[in-house]
């Protein structure tokens, strides 16, 4: 196959060049880039807070005022969860590639899609307002009665921001579900969908089901905080534990909202760079759906010492073990997908391999905290912090970067510099482990989270963690520079630089505004790679040799 790397004059990005054309675009690809800009901004604010946290904790005394420290981890948690990680993969890669992967010309409701971006930024502005005016110090969990009665600061604005943010989640996921149901190209049956699409579909279902509960929860919190009724205030008949139930009923599924998309991305990457069909496609699909469903029945594992009944604790612990089964299937299938492949270690693959390892560690420590007696000890300590950073940072953020590099040539038409990218991927892995592994130890030693000061005996582990964080910061800042550089000077990429099979690779890079002149016809399932010579068949049935 010969690919002529011509820069098509008319692609989605250059079609029109005015600011207005970007702000009022209905094109899913442009909206994806708008989201990309927004979440990058919020990631750096959250990352700035993380930097302050680690700087402060490098010594037991610290350098910030206690009240400032408390604001830092709250901002960090809220920003990272709702304004970066939840929208990260779905709203950027999902928006860009879900329609292309199913052979559609756009999402079902382009205007709703654009509105979602505006609502997202509005919620971000409200949160920034809360920060600028003095911040909040409740932690991302907003537990009453502290948040409603005792906390100073702009809890109302922050909760409102999260409430508004929920609309954006709902709009985007609604769009994804409807699009997947109704706009698949001819021949694109359910079992021919790439796993990334399945991941988007399952995550959208979780978002649609969980977010309204959080919305009502935040709404009641706002009402209580704003006009001072006693919904969660024990002295006026309310029940603070009820808040925790409602919050975790959302927030546990929310953690799977953060991991399912990453699983989708990694499945694409591993199959492509191992040049081999993914092992156990059907199992992978069922695992995604199973995680989505079971995720709704484990929430009280965050409340084992909060005074819930012993028996419900036992049940929730057991269910938490069951949620590991589909995850186990996934880890296993990714690993076996390497068997008899023809593995290329490009940067996206390095990120993907890092993902599998770090997710496994994070997941297994998830089982440790799901074990009742051990959780009594490690609950609300750095052990939990390490557990979830392993999954969310080591897992999802790695997958995000992996996906970013993988799809970069498609989105921009340019290659990123490979050796820099490999260097950044390796640095991420090293820095990450250095930052968060010591936190497991600190946790079992008994260092509670949200502590601005600690006993000197814990100093060396904290110092190590802070040192790691600075490496991590460099590793995350690097892509900003070399990807920016590649926009101008990067080698031009043809339509399918990696020799991948998905429909998105059958368009020119960057794709034209409505993706295809004619709706493509799908002849095959995804991942028709042949490891013996690297050749592959794209989903429209065309066979290519590997270059």
């Amino acid at each position: 196959m010969t690919t002529i790397a011509i820069d098509l004059p008319r692609n989605y990005a250059t079609e029109e060049n005015t600011i207005v054309s970007w702000l009022f675009t209905k094109d899913h690809k442009r909206i994806a880039l708008l989201f990309f800009a927004s979440i990058t901004f919020f990631f750096f604010i959250g990352g700035f807070a993380a930097t302050m946290i680690r700087l402060h904790l490098a010594t037991p005394g610290g350098l910030l005022q206690p009240s400032v420290y408390n604001r830092m981890f709250t901002v960090h948690g809220v920003m990272m969860v709702w304004f970066f990680l939840i929208p990260s993969i779905p709203n950027t890669f999902g928006n860009f590639f879900l329609p292309m992967m199913i052979g559609a010309h756009d999402l079902a409701f382009p205007r709703v899609n654009l509105l979602s971006w505006y609502v997202f930024n509005l919620s971000g502005l409200v949160l920034l307002y809360a920060l600028v005016m003095g911040g909040i110090d409740t932690g991302w969990t907003f537990y009453p009665p502290y948040s409603t009665q005792y906390a100073s600061g702009y809890v109302f604005a922050a909760a409102l921001a999260v409430f508004i943010n929920g609309f954006s989640s709902i709009m985007t996921s609604l769009n994804f579900v409807v699009t997947t149901h109704r706009l698949r190209a001819p021949g694109m049956t359910w079992l021919r969908l790439p796993l990334f699409v399945w991941a988007m579909y399952s995550v959208s279902i979780v978002m649609l089901t969980a977010t309204p509960v959080l919305a009502m929860d935040m709404f009641l919190l706002c009402v209580e905080r704003f006009i001072g009724v006693g919904m969660f205030d024990p002295s006026r008949g309310g029940d603070p534990i009820l808040w925790q139930h409602m919050f975790w009923f959302y927030s546990h599924p929310a953690v799977y909202i953060m991991i399912l998309p990453a699983m989708g991305v990694v499945s694409e990457l591993i199959s492509c760079y191992a040049r081999r069909p993914i092992f156990g496609y059907l199992g992978m699909v069922m695992a995604l759906m199973a995680i989505a469903i079971i995720s709704f029945f484990v929430w009280a594992h965050h409340m084992f010492v909060a005074g819930i009944s012993i028996y419900s604790a036992v049940v929730f612990s057991l269910l938490s073990f069951f949620v590991a089964v589909p995850s186990a299937i996934k880890v296993f299938n990714w690993t076996v997908s390497l068997h008899k492949g023809s593995i290329v270690f490009d940067a996206p693959m390095l990120y993907a391999l890092g993902f599998v390892l770090l997710f496994t560690i994070g997941g297994l420590t998830g089982l440790i905290v799901a074990t009742l007696a051990v959780d009594v000890h490690v609950h609300d300590t750095y052990f939990v912090i390490a557990h979830f950073h392993y999954i969310m940072v080591g897992g999802t953020v790695s997958a995000f970067f992996g996906g970013l590099h993988y799809w970069w040539p498609k989105m921009t038409g340019r290659f990123y510099p490979e050796s820099w990218a490999r260097f950044a991927a390796t640095l991420t892995f090293v820095g990450f482990n250095l930052t968060f592994f010591p936190q497991f130890i600190l946790g079992y030693l008994g260092m509670p989270r949200r502590y601005y000061t600690y006993v000197p005996a814990w100093e060396s582990w904290n110092l190590l963690s802070s040192a790691g964080a600075s490496i991590l910061a460099v590793a995350y800042a690097l892509p900003l520079f070399y990807l920016g550089w590649s926009l101008l000077y990067g080698r031009r990429a043809g339509p399918n630089p990696w020799g991948a099979t998905g429909l998105e690779w059958t368009t020119p890079s960057p794709p034209p505004t409505h993706n295809w002149e004619l709706t493509p016809t799908v002849k095959l399932g995804p991942y028709s790679y042949n490891p013996e010579d690297g050749s592959y068949i794209t989903q429209d049935g065309v066979k290519h040799a590997y270059v």
Binding site: F109, V178, H181, M216, I227, G237, H514
Partner: protein
């Protein structure tokens, strides 16, 4: 292509109008699912407290104005009927009938809001507005106020939804229909509004007994 006062062509991402209409309906159904969960959470927490403080809630609920709630349920059910009639008329191409049924629907919706406003006024005089002028009546302490929090949050959110519904009906009347965009071949927008309207109606079918009837006997 349907021949009508105006030719409507599907948006770029759809193959034809019927696909576009189906998709719009599916979208509304999914949206309604999320709304159900939103209100469902409220009603669920309400019942948790209702069971915990059944006595206090019963006492407090006696002050809710039963006739307003009952009149309103009648009005809303009727309005769902007129909405369906409007959609039928649209399907049959009876344009005038469609317009009149829609006007009736919007009017009934506003009627509901009017009665609700009057009821809020009665409530205010009865001193049952939490925080603003709440007076704990004998037998209500300490949780009676919670009942009223649920009352205001529940009916308030419902009223906002209904206002949006009325707005949508007016948008149909004053914009989409006037511009001839609703035809017997393509009236999916109207059906979508109808779905939303019935949903808002259904919410009241749950709120009404929960607030006005439970424990009243």
């Amino acid at each position: 292509m349907p021949m009508s006062s105006r030719t409507i062509s599907p948006e770029i991402q759809y193959a034809d109008l019927s696909q576009q209409g189906d998709t719009a309906q599916l979208g509304m159904w999914v949206f309604i699912t999320t709304e159900t969960l939103f209100f469902g959470t409220l009603i669920f927490t309400y019942y948790i407290y209702r069971i915990l403080y059944s006595h206090e809630f019963d006492v407090a609920a006696r002050d809710a104005v039963l006739w307003c709630g009952s009149a309103n349920i009648g009005i809303l059910i009727t309005s769902s009927l007129t909405m369906v009639l409007a959609i039928n008329a649209a399907a049959d191409g009876r344009r005038r009938a469609m317009i009149w049924w829609l006007i009736a629907t919007a009017a009934l919706g506003m009627c509901f809001l009017g009665i609700k406003g009057y009821e809020y006024n009665l409530d205010y005089n009865d001193k049952v507005v939490p925080v603003a002028n709440f007076e704990m009546k004998p037998g209500e302490a300490p949780a009676g106020e919670l009942f009223w929090v649920f009352y205001w949050v529940g009916t308030g959110l419902h009223a906002i939804h209904l206002t949006i519904g009325v707005g949508l009906v007016l948008y149909m009347l004053l914009w989409r229909i006037r511009r001839g965009e609703i035809t017997p071949d393509y009236y999916a927008p109207l059906e979508v509004v109808g779905l939303y309207w019935s949903f808002v109606d259904t919410v009241w079918l749950f709120l009404f007994p929960s607030i006005y009837l439970v424990g009243r006997s």
